[in-house]
Symmetry: C2
Subunit: 231 residues, 2 copies
Amino acid sequence: MSGALKDAAIRVERPAKTLRELALDKVREAIVNGYFRPGDRLVERDLCAQLGVSRTVVREVLRHLESEGLVANLPNKGPIVAQLDIDEARQIYEIRGALEGMAARLCAERGSPEIVAALEESLAAIRNSYRDHDMAAVLANTSSFYQTLFTMVDRHVAWGVVNLLTVRINHLRSMTIKTERRGIEGPLQMSKIIDAIRRGDGEGAQRAAMDHVAAASAIAEAVLSAQKPAE
Amino acid sequence: MSGALKDAAIRVERPAKTLRELALDKVREAIVNGYFRPGDRLVERDLCAQLGVSRTVVREVLRHLESEGLVANLPNKGPIVAQLDIDEARQIYEIRGALEGMAARLCAERGSPEIVAALEESLAAIRNSYRDHDMAAVLANTSSFYQTLFTMVDRHVAWGVVNLLTVRINHLRSMTIKTERRGIEGPLQMSKIIDAIRRGDGEGAQRAAMDHVAAASAIAEAVLSAQKPAE
DNA sequence: AATCGTATTATGGCCTACCAAATACTGTAG
DNA sequence: CTACAGTATTTGGTAGGCCATAATACGATT
């Protein structure tokens, strides 16, 4: 196993991603950052033209995004960007709470100083990003914080699930982060998670992580229900 | 919303599934029930011939299964049936524990007699299937039990996640179920879940659900580590 | 005989072109 | 103004072909 790890460290980052992967990233990007709005139709041939690739590739990309939940396929009408459903968002936050709570508990129970150090580093980066009002960086560093939480205890599958779900609520996340008091409360709640982990309090770490997600969920819900009637 | 629900209840099960969906189910089936073994190469053109469909469809199916985790894609070598990793299996069981525990707790907290009734019905079906030694039915009814747990409290997203993860360990499940004492202990643990839900004990329901998954996980691990050295 | 190139094959990645069926649109006749 | 017929749009699916790469087999050379 350590041999495999060593190999992985050496291995050259394959620069030759397939066209399909590039196209996938582009379209996902476009959906997540709002270039394609929820409900927009994704016409195959238009996408072919915009991406400069063939239908074969576009179709595979659309299938992939469909299974990610970013694209919905109306029968006999074709794919559209998935609508954001307030109830679905709530469920996603709930699942994140359960899984991130689990990860936090495991971190606490392991009681390794390196975990605490890594998390504190992430948190510092988040605070810096808030200070600079660089919201894209806040988002990235928050992801990194949670990634640390999962990967330090080798829960790659759970991290994958969380990641998968998170892209579906990405624009919500970017809105909750911009909320007034979030820049102070968010890091505060995260530091509570770290504190609990540091003192090996699994129960407390789990609760703190769930609280943090619950707070984000509450803000998201407020944002969403304030926005829906407007449309 | 209630209108949509009524429609959904009425709507005829669209018999005109696309060829793609049919092919997807066939290949998934073939992987899950062992017709394709882990590590087997899935050669596009061969699959075309076997399924009687074009490469376009086959490729889309392979992409989809890849994002489900049933198929792995080796660069420059093509798709193979994903290998079952013991650590990954453990993680999947752990996630199921977290989510099914959450669902059980929610069921208990809702305190609706219909939930208890529905779960008891499922459990009875499982017991019958065990009595008849119909293991396929045991598996189906067990899924149905958990589906009830999730859908009665409208957690469709979480159910989707569990389902997605479960196909990856399906053959493990079918082995754990055949284990000697499982036919008695499994239903016993499930009835404990129901008992806790009936008396509105959220904490207890969650713990009972997690215990049940943990037991399955332990058996799976034993089965798997007894099997691996043989190969 | 061992080794070093070189054809051949197998296969995935990608493309173009085509057809059928369903849907949406549009213009005209009554 | 309505009903209907025709037309365009778009997906679902097929066929086949081109190219690049990896592996294998096959010689040729030393």
